[in-house]
Chain length 620, copies 2
């Protein structure tokens, strides 16, 4: 029917939306096929974007020219910068979203892109010719053809929903499952696995007593995700905190024998760091209480998300347990929590570009790769969309390194280490997290996004200006001197040693306990002078100055490792002949086929001595 | 789990929403159970409310205290008063709606009602004890109990979607079907049938050439549905008109052998007056073209509804045929049209209150009763919700007569005549349509809605004021005289005979070709005087004066018929013994068990002579 597409994206979740938007913005004709056009960019679980490490990813997606940051900014109802009290490497933006608005804004954004067509239907299979994907087939038997196909099926492939002893097919509550694709891919030689995730019950705000909970307000001066000119929030909604207790746990335990997880009916592994409440009270039996975040689902709706109470126990047990939580005495449930099992494809079957090794021009992104989380899905979608475009137009691959972006860490981890349980991002996964900060994602990535035709010129100009003014400010601070008499009184007042002789503002700022805000307070003249700069420039300069040594140290490590990354291994290298490498090492290397020694060193099962042998053999 | 509900409403379509809102507003504790809380009040088909006869119903629902009018007003993108050029009995308000906003406003309105609880799940059966419904069972096996249950399952019961030769279960596109209820009701002795309806493909506005179509703008001074103070539109979206042609028809015909309708795969009867496009070109082979209304789905989305092109032909035929329509040469489809078959229950199994005769406290409303259309569903939901509340609180039945409201006509038709094909309202179904106008629904009904605790005091005050000022104005017009010299020049200018002697403004207005607007123009003094009154009062007075004789004539007929309506027939009347009545008449009477002679006279199969026999027997 429709034809001449460059790229078909299957699925319009967070991965699919970013993939379609990226490829279309770069100039590809894109067809986005999804089972239900009313659920484009539906948030399956919590109405929130960002958080620790995830917020950094959203900033990176934005810096490259993706949409998740902009959509989040337009539809948030609360913003908080997490970990403000820690170093800037840990600062993590997070927002509470209006679930309906989020989905609507995404859909309208996609509609505005003239290169994107839509088709509502279930894709039931791929059209593969000579080991190359050339299109997809739908439930109705329609064939759509394209140069590349990006699969972003999320939790829908053979999705099975569990609540207590009951289970039924579905890709998400009240939505059908998708069938056909897994079966065909397995036939084509792919390895498939099974994972699970879960979601808490939704309740009625009108039935809660918020006076028994702690209020959690948004930041006083809310920041935002996008580096573009989106508006920060003027008004915000609060969240609330309450706790489980022994009574809650006792009630939950009465459901354990009907738990699909404990009874072994659920075969897939769930996210360890996002456990169900029954998992928490089971694994941490000594803990007397667990925190519950009570989060509104939007500006107006009374529906509330009970964060921390993910469960697949029988719904009557869920209800009885909820009632024992302070503030929930009269709770009314809207929908029960549930667990869902779905198919995924171990991501070691992918190249750095997220193209599959087995079938040319076929890309996978999002939960289908064994990850969990909107942000993880979104960034993979972006990268798959970019690379599908590049491939369809014979352009070069677009890969981010581990030192450039969390996105690089994520993909490198996935394709080299694979994942046995749903993979989510943590700051601890990144070895260079002082470099990969939320404040500098634009400096790290916008030019790269611009060079491939994704980030706009506006973005590039903005980041250039930011770099220049920051450099200018740092330079000026280096030369602006103060004399002891001018500042000593104030210095002592803030508890730092007085000056013996004149020094530069930069030197003062290097002192561990002195902030730029305090330096601003030293005199009216300094204050007036600094006021010329934007908040962003001031923050950037301060971070660069105060964390200079850490940043430099990490940069040196990056440079050292880069040498290994530059050592290419021929694609057809025969590991079999290197008997000095352990058997497991040889097997893994043959399977993953790393492109460089650096990549080889990160494959689980490949030891340091295996790497040495390899390097010796390659003449290093 | 939850308990102590007065009323459970199953399904949150137009019927379910009105039912829940009405009962809750009157004071019942209501549980609204629906399969998907994200699709509350979803418009399954066209994004529009009102139209001929249907607009009158929306006004009646509003006058009684229902919500459909208010929601429509808040979410419309275009308003037109249809049939303005005809008499006021034919005037019919119609709006184009923003599909997403409509659903969202309804949901938020229900959430604001503290007497309504929500539960998202499929109801799979009823709990019936001693021929009395006492609750429902859900898919998960949860039991909810209540004094009354209202079923409003729409097109979901064993829904089967057809596109060309393919078919699959579903209650609406991308939504699952509902099972269990039909089977149980049949076991309980209900008769069930099968109907079908269809919907056109949705297309991409960005792919259409509107310059080849006729623009259809909204009214210059848009009116609205609600008698309350909702805002009329300030800005409007246009619709567009184009036509099919021989080429389109020829392409469509190539799909006829794969048509599920023509091949007999669809067993249910469809709405005769809302036929599919293949039906139209088949039945009206001589017609060279059919009108197509191209309707936007909302303020912002590019999705477009192709009104007039409902079809279940194979999607490639749909696509190829669309491309032959002027303006559609480069059309891109988003979703194909389809037909859906579903279960309904012949409504002769219901009482005037929409309670079933077989099972106490069980009410049916909406498409489940064999009707079609949002407005038809909404008004039944309202009436079922009211009567479920009345029954649950031992209050008297609330029934509207045929002379009071289109709603009365609709329900009276359904329960007495039944329906073989999807029933929609037409003005021709009402014998008193000069009485049942869109402008006076509040005068007819608001007091009745107020007396049962549904319409607010604000509504009552408004309608009282309207009646009083109208009466005052009519009276004043009767006494305000003009002299020939004052007005003859202007009268001749508008083409009506000059006065020979002084007369009242009322007499002038009675002239067929003289409007109140023209009378206003007769002199500055008259103009200033009339300006004291609102548009609404002026219109009301004008209609009352100009159509007085028609109105009186209909009122006399109503009064005459009322005598028959007042002749009650005992509930246990034994028709068997009246051998003078035709066999068919006796059977029908025994089955329907009319409450009055009037009702008996409208049962199909009962003849005028049967009625005479009945009246003689009852001593009249
Ligand atoms: C119950 C539940 C609980 C979750 N809990 C958490 C949590 O606690 N923490 C967390 O971080 N993440 C959680 N997630 C995961 C989070 O929702 C996903 O990581 C994220 O949505 C994945 O995005 P995606 O784009 O890969 O897929 P999805 O958002 O699932 O989107 C997939 C899209 O593909 C479409 N689709 C699928 N198959 C087909 C087909 N064959 N043809 C056409 N269209 C198709 C679907 O309609 C949908 O639009 C949860 C998800 C679910 C369902
Ligand atoms: C494809 C299609 C085409 C149509 N075309 C036209 C047309 O051309 N003209 C026209 O006038 N009308 C048309 N209609 C009809 C119009 O949509 C309906 O008349 C109207 O929506 C009926 O309202 P309702 O409230 O009775 O049911 P619906 O609007 O169908 O709502 C039913 C509700 O009940 C819920 N539900 C169903 N079963 C269960 C269960 N067991 N448990 C829990 N919840 C349940 C559903 O989720 C849904 O919320 C069409 C409908 C469809 C589907």
């Amino acid at each position: 029917m429709h034809s001449n597409y460059d790229i078909i994206v299957v699925g319009a979740g967070h991965a699919g939306c970013e993939a379609a938007h990226a490829a279309a913005t770069m100039g590809s004709k894109v067809l986005l096929i999804t089972m239900n056009m009313n659920t484009i960019a539906q948030m399956s679980c919590n109405p929130a974007m960002g958080g620790v490490a995830k917020g950094q990813i959203v900033r990176e997606v934005d810096a490259l020219g993706g949409m998740s940051g902009i959509i989040s900014d337009k539809t948030m109802i609360q913003f908080r910068m997490l970990n403000r009290s820690k170093g800037p490497a840990m600062w993590s933006p997070r927002c509470q979203s209006d679930r309906m608005r989020f989905a609507e804004e995404w859909r309208l954004a996609l509609e505005r892109n003239l290169n994107i067509d839509f088709w509502q239907e279930m894709v039931s299979g791929l059209i593969v010719e000579n080991n190359q994907v050339v299109g997809v087939k739908t439930q109705l038997g329609i064939e759509f053809r394209a140069k590349s196909v990006v699969l972003t099926n999320g939790t829908f492939l053979n999705g099975l929903i569990h609540i207590g002893e009951k289970n039924f097919g579905g890709g998400r509550t009240a939505e059908g499952k998708a069938t056909g694709i897994t079966e065909q891919l397995v036939e084509l030689g792919f390895e498939a696995g099974r994972m699970k995730t879960g979601t808490p019950p939704r309740v009625d705000a009108r039935s809660l007593d918020f006076s028994k909970m702690e209020e959690q307000k948004g930041d006083e001066n809310p920041a935002k995700f996008s580096y573009l000119d989106t508006e920060p929030l003027k008004e915000q909604r609060s969240c609330w905190i309450t706790y489980t207790n022994q009574e809650v746990h006792d009630v939950l335990k009465t459901g354990f024998e009907k738990s699909p997880m404990f009874a072994g009916r659920i075969k897939g592994l769930g996210p360890r760091y996002c456990p169900s409440v029954e998992d928490k009270i089971n694994r941490f039996a000594e803990k007397e209480r667990h925190q519950i975040f009570v989060e509104p689902e939007g500006w107006n709706t009374v529906e509330v998300y009970v964060n921390g109470f993910s469960t697949s126990l029988p719904e009557d047990v869920q209800y009885a347990a909820l009632k024992k939580i302070p503030g929930f005495e009269n709770v009314r449930m809207f929908r029960p929590g549930y667990a869902i099992e779905y198919d995924y494809f171990p991501p070691t079957q992918l190249k750095q570009t997220l193209e599959t090794k087995l079938i040319d021009n076929l890309f996978f992104a999002g939960q289908i790769n064994g990850t969990t989380g909107y942000e993880e899905a979104a960034c993979q979608g972006l990268m798959a969309g970019i690379n599908a475009h590049q491939k369809a137009h014979d352009k070069e691959e677009f890969v981010l390194s581990r030192s450039e972006a969390y996105i690089g860490v994520l993909i490198d981890d996935l394709i080299n280490k694979g994942t046995e349980e749903p993979y989510r991002m943590f700051t601890s996964r990144a070895e260079y997290r002082t470099l990969l900060r939320q404040d500098n994602a634009d400096i790290r990535l916008t030019e790269r996004g611009y060079n491939i035709g994704l980030a706009s010129d506006e973005r590039l100009q903005k980041v250039k200006a930011k770099k220049e003014t920051t450099a200018q400010l740092v330079n000026e601070l280096k030369h602006k001197k103060v004399k002891p008499a001018e500042v000593n009184e104030k210095l002592e007042a803030i508890g730092t040693a007085p000056l013996k002789e004149g020094t530069s503002l930069l030197n003062l700022l290097r002192r561990p306990n002195v902030t730029l805000a305090e330096i601003k307070n030293l005199s009216d003249e300094i204050s007036e002078y600094l006021d010329q700069y934007t908040e962003e420039t001031l923050e950037q300069a301060e971070i660069n100055i105060k964390y200079e040594s850490y940043i430099e140290k990490e940069q040196q490590m990056v440079d050292k490792m880069q040498k290994l990354e530059d050592l290419a291994i021929p694609a057809d290298f025969d590991y079999g002949k290197l008997s000095a490498i352990s058997i497991e090492g040889r097997q893994k290397l043959s399977k993953i086929r790393p492109a460089t020694i650096g990549q080889a060193s990160r494959i689980s099962g490949v030891s340091a001595s295996d790497i040495s042998v390899l390097m010796v053999f390659m003449g290093r």
